[in-house]
Amino acid sequence: GAGVSQSPRYKVAKRGQDVALRCDPISGHVSLFWYQQALGQGPEFLTYFQNEAQLDKSGLPSDRFFAERPEGSVSTLKIQRTQQEDSAVYLCASSLGTGELFFGEGSRLTVL
């Protein structure tokens, strides 16, 4: 596609529910990043893929967070047993590996 596409744009979950956030990167971009952005803050790195390989997951805040990119294209960020502190915008970005990242519009998660 023309840009990075994320869905859903908005998600409201009850505490304890599982959620899945999808990212469709720009076609041909081998690198894919997930960031978490709390209100009024800068994006914080969660995890990174090169093709289907998850090369860095050091930013995932707990074992409730899981990301995958099984075919090296679409990626899913899954959060199990959501907590209120998980409320944030989750940004996906893709890159050709030249340093510049192209971002999606984000998925805003609100946990009640």
Binding site: S31, Q41, G42, Y48, D56, E100, F103, E105
Partner: protein, 116 residues
């Protein structure tokens, strides 16, 4: 670990005036990129300008220019002839070129308001 510091949480500027946003960073590396990203209220992060550390010449993109001081580890953004559409959060970011697997590190951002 690299860190990026933006010391101005909020700034405002009159339309058509010039404003400078500050950014400092800390790294032991010599080969890296620096970026300024803009995030309007719609949330999508857009690249404004980028600077390669090995280039001494400051990058410019139309009304946007940077003052890159490598020794001081400073990377400020100057916006000339400010427009209402420049109102947004601005993030300074760093990425190492030494490894292809390092993530982009962001500062906490500066909220810029352009006033008519």
């Amino acid at each position: 670990a690299q860190t990026v510091t933006q010391s101005q949480p909020e700034m405002s500027v009159q339309e058509a005036e010039t404003v400078t946003l500050s950014c400092t960073y800390d790294t032991s590396e010599n080969n890296y990129y620096l970026f300024w990203y803009k995030q309007p209220p719609s949330r999508q992060m857009i690249l404004v300008i980028r600077q390669e550390a090995y280039k001494q010449q400051n990058a410019t993109e139309n009304r946007f220019s940077v003052n890159f001081q490598k020794a001081a580890k400073s990377f400020s953004l100057k916006i000339s002839d400010s427009q209402l559409g420049d109102t947004a959060m601005y993030f300074c970011a760093f990425i190492s070129r030494n490894s292809g697997n390092t993530p982009l590190v962001f500062g906490k951002g500066t909220r810029l308001s352009v006033i008519a």
